[in-house]
Amino acid sequence: MKDRLTDELTAMRAAKELAPGDYCNLGIGVPLLCVSYIPEGVMIQSENGVIGYGPVYENDELDLIDPDMIDAGMRYFRPLPGMAFFDQLTSFCMIRSGRLISILGGLQVSEKGDVAIHATSEENKTPRIGGSMDLAWGARRLIIAMTHNAKDGSPKVVRNLTMPVTAAACVDLIVTDIAVIKVTDSGLLLQEFAPGWTPEEIINQTEASLIIASDLKEMEF
């Protein structure tokens, strides 16, 4: 089997989409790893009520934590100058304002940019929606950072979603462990391939049709 990007590398590539001055929300999973690669001057928002916070504490620094400062991934973070706290109503006004870029994980993305993000509990069938519908719908730009294929090998970039939709026609860019794909009005545009991968190999791992960009290139990190 060909080498795919590690989660860290996928996150590193996704983080390149951000520029100083951007505001960004990072979903659980691969997106949260972006935090280490984000350029200075990007402010991270967490839907539980903080924007502009600093790196999370490592395990050997736990004496330093403020127990009232966690992100939505329940990780304790460092304060940063310029950070602000707010209630969750303000948080969802922010999330729906179109002022945030969202980098979220994904279970499936369709040709039309529909995305399935939230899982449904196997045990009791309750959907784990959380803030995902709001984050996907409200983003100025929605980037899905995920593995290209599911654990069983099935493609996650599909013609039509087979899993419950989280938000329709919302995705702008898909960053996977083998490709970068832009969602356009005329279809999915393959813009970048992981080192060692050919467009044909990526197409083989993808259910949806891919248009190969004229400026197709190897991913850079």
Binding site: I65, Q88, E123, N124, I129, G131
Partner: protein
């Protein structure tokens, strides 16, 4: 003279069987002391409205981590934005939940986190309902009126007007004015505005005038009772670091296990 200071037991005594109770469920801003008082109070057939519903592992509960999911036996319905019952750590509570959901003795209403806070706000403003852009075409559309306004589809959402709001704040004065710290603000200010009867637990009570009027987040008018968490309480400010540390350590171990399993898979 307004004095809203009370014990937790006195404050929760007003809660009735069948009430809709709202509170943050876990983490900073969750009223752990009041959750326990509600458990001791024993009110039945409650509807719980909570941001997430994530029962604790037994091992953590044994170490003193507060776990409001114990209230389950008193609950007939859960309204939540997120629920997780870890397959790898199936607790007795998780089994009970799954069994009761199958039996139909427990109802679950799922929504987006944004739906939850906007429905609380609709209640705070005493609206009859709102048209939300969130959830169109998704599982939460089921049974909801859909309406196109200016070319965009929206779902009708009913207000959530809790009978009882349990909240947590950093400091209060005896008038009920509240200030919060960090992400423990959470949805507490909205809960206070939306609910009929509001109890706030705090780490500290100060004299009126000590809280800067520009910094007060929840004015006392929205708060019916103020309960000071005793310092030596397991969830009090002196002792809570103990179980927080235990909780972090446990999560790290779980994550390491999950990571190891994942790498094994790959």
């Amino acid at each position: 003279m307004i004095n809203k200071v009370s014990t937790a037991a006195e404050a929760v005594a007003k809660i009735r069987d069948g009430d809709l109770v709202i509170a943050n469920f876990w983490g900073p801003g969750s009223p752990a002391h009041l959750w326990r008082a509600l458990l001791d109070h024993g009110a039945k057939d409650l509807t719980l409205c909570i941001n997430n519903y994530v029962p604790k592992a037994d091992v953590l509960r044994e170490k003193g981590t507060p776990d409001p999911s114990l209230i389950l036996a008193q609950t007939k319905k859960i309204m939540a934005a997120f629920t997780s019952i870890r397959a790898e750590e199936v607790s007795p509570i998780a089994e009970v939940i799954n069994k009761r959901l199958q039996e139909g003795s427990l109802e679950f209403e799922s929504m987006s986190h944004g739906n939850l806070v906007e429905r609380l706000y609709a209640a705070a403003l005493r609206l009859g309902g709102i048209y939300s852009p969130i959830g169109v075409g998704t599982v939460i559309e089921e049974g909801k009126e859909k309406r196109v306004i200016n070319g965009v589809e929206y779902l009708f959402q009913e207000p959530i007007r809790p009978d009882v709001g349990l909240i947590s704040a950093a400091k209060a004065d005896r008038l009920g004015n509240l200030v919060y710290h960090g992400t423990a603000r959470a949805s507490n200010p909205i809960i206070a505005m939306a609910s009929r009867y509001v109890i706030a637990e705090v780490f500290e009570i100060v004299d009126p005038g000590e809280l800067d009027p520009d910094h007060i987040v929840t004015p006392g008018i929205f708060v019916d009772r103020v309960v000071r968490i005793p310092d030596d309480d397991p969830v009090g400010r002196e002792r809570r670091r103990e179980w927080i540390m235990a909780s972090i350590k446990f999560r790290e171990e779980q994550n390491a296990k999950a990571e190891a399993a994942r790498r094994g898979d790959a």
